[in-house]
């Protein structure tokens, strides 16, 4: 499953997409993100499923701002979550 967390508002599209088929629940993104954007939750979409990564409720409505410091306007863009995820389960839409 591809889970889109975030929003589209007047200023643009801001989604973090987690591919839960790739996510193995290793928790690396949770620890890597300096702003605590991720959490591990029980897979509620498949009752046989285990843990999966998700964007916390708190950050979903302000993800553009939460991720801002990792996305400087110039210079190198280092998305810690994406770098930490060996399964390549995380993408950002912006």
């Amino acid at each position: 499953m591809k889970a889109y967390y975030g929003y589209k508002d007047g200023s643009g599209d801001y989604f973090i997409i987690i591919d839960t088929d790739k996510c193995n629940g290793c928790r690396k993104c949770v620890d890597a993100c300096p702003h605590r954007v991720f959490e591990l939750i029980k897979d509620e979409f498949d009752i046989e499923g285990g843990l999966m990564a998700a964007v916390t409720e708190e950050h979903r409505k302000k993800i553009k701002y939460s991720c801002g410091p990792c996305k400087p306007m110039s210079g190198e863009r280092k998305l810690q979550c994406v770098l930490a995820c060996e399964a390549k389960a995380i993408t950002h839409s912006w």
């Binding site: 499953m1 591809k2 889970a3 889109y4 975030g6 929003y7 989604f15 509620e44 979409f45």
Partner: protein, 293 residues
Amino acid sequence: MSEKSKEFWRWREYRHTMPNMDWHDAKMVTAGVDIGSVGSKAAVMLDGELYTYAAMRTGGVSEETAVKAMNWAIEETGLKTEDIHYVVGTGYGRVNVPFAKRTITEIACHARGAHYIYGPTVRTVLDIGGQDCKAIRCDEKGKVMSFLMNDKCAAGTGRGLEVFADLIRTPIEELGKTSLSVQDEPQPVSNTCVIFAKAESVALLRQGWPKEKVSAAYHLAMVNRIIDLLTKVGIEKDFVVTGGVAKNTGIVSRLERNLKLKPLEPKLDPILAGAIGSALFAKALYEKEIGLR
């Protein structure tokens, strides 16, 4: 068969029990309770078939609403809450369902429920409520393949339409119709933001545009935005539209035209999708619990 309903402003409270079904014959009695921000629904299923349900407005205390909705659903059936093998709570108030054994996110329940209501050919579900917009793509089993929920921004939700209805002083129920009375579709309003789109609409009205034309431009902008969100999760037929905005013909007919897809007609009130879906999850969880799975 017993049906009671009280009319409320824009939101009908009602209950219904399926005739010719008896819970005494059922092996598994499961239920789902969906506590939304506006309405709360409870559904009871017998071996995975819908038996009885109720929909009512959410009150100040979610726990009380959950109990009330459930009691209303099983009223006159002789069924007691204790007789139900497994209850799942969903919706934004899902943690406040006192008798639920588990909670499950509304996205999963909504997809499962839509699958039950519209049949297994459903692949894309669009749900536009008063305060959010959900786009879900699911497989033939009703399992979610991808989803997106936007509850940050009022644009593209019922709230965005209310603001506009207020502006042109048209009852919300008739808003969609006003937008369909223009001959040629105008350019959409260029601002997405409800606040700025409203200001833009005021400017168009001052320029002398009739309100129907401004309404068409406003609806079209909203439809473009929705299509954009749908495209992200992927649009596959069959396509269904649920939620309060499904009643706005100005939105639905434009979606139909621009997507070249005709939404399926529901066999049951789609407002029940979340409750039905959670009752189905309850069945699966109960089967797992007793070792049937």
